[in-house]
């Protein structure tokens, strides 16, 4: 018991800085109601995605043709679609698809972009030239158009959607990481490490990477909503997820023909997209503001 207590207090002593940082972040978050709304939306989305099979009232795939295009009611809160599937259940399961795409795309792009950006920025010369011209070329296409072209070339499917979006997004992170690296490289603490004889690899890993990745991660939180939106757009055009996957964009696309007479069929899935993207954007904005000491401290 006493041992535990001393362990805890020594841990607290060593991490007092982190504890006060955490307190500061909590304090700053509390003062920003929009961030709290965003955070709650995102937490809710994640919970819905995890618990989808347990909380969705019906099977998202099973068809009930006798009950097609039913308007919202107690048994089908958001109505049913043209094949009699419960729209609420499909939206709930759609959360999984949306989050999965987002997580996979960022899990590929963040490390890739940061790695290429740091290499380009730190070493400069022709390495920089090649990486950055590649980035320029990929950035010369509007994202959705390039993703569409890649999606069309690979054939429409969920996996190809992820690959397509991933290919369009790395240049943004690479550029950001390169810019950060260029400015960090000039700062005195890097010169101090050189003076100590620290190797290049260690300077990159222990001094540049932590600073570089935090800015890029902040930027990525601002992009989370974008990924969801682009994926939904591709599916809407028929170049992404294929039926019967419960994907929001696809649901809007198939429900489009019922817009006038059964408005709920395309409207609710679209609203789900808006809500999810809005949540991530609010949270991203909040994280950016809180992570910027200038904004955080200046009231």
């Amino acid at each position: 018991m006493v041992d535990l207590r001393t362990t805890i207090s020594s841990w607290k002593g060593r991490h007092s800085s982190e504890i006060s940082d955490a307190k500061e972040i909590v304090h700053a978050t509390k003062k920003s109601p929009l961030t709290i709304v965003g955070l709650s939306l995102v937490v809710a989305l994640v919970l819905v995605a995890i618990l989808a099979p347990y909380i969705s009232p019906h099977d998202p795939i099973a068809m009930h043709l006798e009950n097609r295009l039913a308007s919202p009611s107690m048994s089908h809160l958001l109505g049913t679609d043209e094949l009699g599937r419960d729209i609420l259940s499909r939206i709930v399961h759609g959360t999984r698809v949306a989050l999965l795409i987002m997580i996979i795309v960022l899990a590929i792009d963040l490390p890739l972009g940061v790695f290429l950006g740091i290499v380009a920025g730190y070493f400069g010369g022709w390495v920089d030239e090649i990486i950055m011209r590649m980035a320029d070329i990929f950035m010369a296409f509007p994202r959705l158009i390039l993703a569409m072209a890649i999606g069309a070339a690979l054939g429409p499917s969920l996996v190809n959607t992820m690959i397509a979006i991933a290919i369009t997004m790395w240049p943004a992170y690479a550029r950001l990481a390169r810019g950060e690296t260029l400015s960090i490289k000039e700062r005195t603490f890097i010169e101090a490490e050189k003076a100590l004889g620290t190797s290049k690899a260690r300077i990159i890993l222990s001094s540049i990477l932590p600073l570089c990745s935090s800015t890029t991660i902040v930027r990525a939180t601002l992009d989370m909503g974008n990924v969801i939106r682009i994926a939904a757009g591709m599916s809407f055009l028929g170049l992404g997820a294929q039926p019967p996957t419960p994907e929001w964009g696809l649901m809007v696309a198939t429900g489009r023909s019922f817009l006038i007479n059964q408005w709920w069929v395309p409207t609710f899935p679209g609203f789900a997209i808006l809500l999810a993207v809005f949540g991530f954007n609010l949270l991203g904005d909040g994280i950016r503001d809180i992570s910027d000491p200038h904004l955080r401290r200046g009231e």
Binding site: D136, I137, L146, A152, L237, L259, I260, V277, F278
Partner: protein, 336 residues
């Protein structure tokens, strides 16, 4: 480096990017797809037809010859025949591109006026009610799926209120004006046909509102944060110390500096607008380049796909080029 040297360097980059774009497009259209002809004709197509289509598309040649043929095509602006429309692709592009240009320009005008205005208001009234409203408005804007917003507008503005038409570029009874620029609004004014002008504008309204709102949101955000940043600068303090009126401080001292990132954003916006136009045109049935591209993608019409994305990418690269040059023009600090 003086301006001319910079111009040369920037043009060189532009050419590198265009060559890259053309190459990427080639890879996407000719190398990655395993069996393009099979994809077009289906698996059980008769072998003669397969052969014929392959010949038509040049797929029987070795890859490097295909590439040369392809690059030649781009240089002479000849992408071959679009399988879907049976027209030369370049003719289709000429027909559809002005429609999109018209739409994008109108949306951009809406976005620049509203976005910069709202952004300034938001920054000046920081943390006040009007700031919060405009922030939420623009956050909703950047979160909005364009295709869904389009559907909502059709449901409400067309079906329930009847303010906008169902789709198309002109009403069926009205014939297009004599082609000068291809932009119906401009051509009708040149021809003096005001009824056609109003009708064309009326058809632009729905899609332009969708694109305009989303773009307003982006520009508003950049303007706001850029203005706030400039407000912290020492020279704004100097302007206040000089006793200048707030209006002069904001418009003469702050806005001129804040404009630089805003212009970059407007340039990037052009790309967002092009991709937004793909979705919006599809929803509104507006016969523009975006819808043409989507339909070509869906029917795997190789030549048309290549033509439309090459054109879009060139437009985008061109707008980036213009922004870069403008940027240097506006900021006297940049030493080439």
């Amino acid at each position: 480096m003086n301006f001319r040297e910079y111009l040369v360097k920037r043009m060189a980059l532009f050419i590198v990017v265009i060559i890259g774009v053309v190459t990427v497009t080639f890879l996407l259209s000719h190398v990655i797809p395993a069996d393009p002809v099979g994809a077009i004709l289906g698996e059980n197509a008769p072998p003669e037809l397969v052969k014929k289509t392959e010949r038509l598309l040049g797929l029987h040649l070795p890859l490097h010859q295909q590439y040369i043929r392809y690059v030649k095509g781009v240089v002479y602006w000849d992408f071959g025949i679009a399988l879907r429309t049976q027209n030369p692709v370049s003719k289709d592009l000429r027909a559809y591109f002005p429609a999109t240009l018209e739409l994008v320009t109108l949306a951009m005008l809406i976005a620049i006026t509203c976005g910069i205005g709202l952004g300034i208001l938001s920054a000046v009234k920081r943390n006040k009610m009007s700031d919060n409203i405009s922030r939420v408005f623009s956050l909703v804007g950047i979160s909005m799926p364009a295709f869904w917003l389009g559907l909502l507008l059709i449901l409400i503005l067309y079906y329930h209120l009847g303010i906008i038409p169902a789709g198309g570029r002109l009403s069926p009874r009205i014939s297009p004006p004599l082609t000068v620029t291809g932009l119906y609004t401009v051509d009708s004014l040149i021809a003096g046909e005001f009824r056609t002008f109003w009708d064309a504008l009326y058809h632009l309204l729905g899609p332009a509102l969708v694109l305009g709102w989303i773009q307003t949101a982006y520009i508003c955000r950049v303007t706001r944060s850029s203005m706030l940043e400039v407000f912290n600068e020492e020279y704004i303090r100097t302007a206040r110390v000089k006793g200048l009126r707030e209006k002069i401080v904001i418009f003469r001292h702050a806005l001129k500096n804040a404009a630089i990132p805003v212009i970059t954003m407007v340039g990037i916006s052009f790309g967002y607008l092009l991709e937004g136009s793909v979705l919006t045109e599809t929803v509104f049935g507006y016969p523009g380049l975006g819808r043409y591209a989507v339909n070509s993608f869906l029917s795997l019409d190789l030549n048309a796909v290549v033509g439309s994305i090459t054109l879009i990418a060139i437009c985008f690269a061109l707008s980036n080029l213009i922004v870069d040059l403008l940027y240097r023009f506006l900021d006297p600090r940049i030493k080439y």
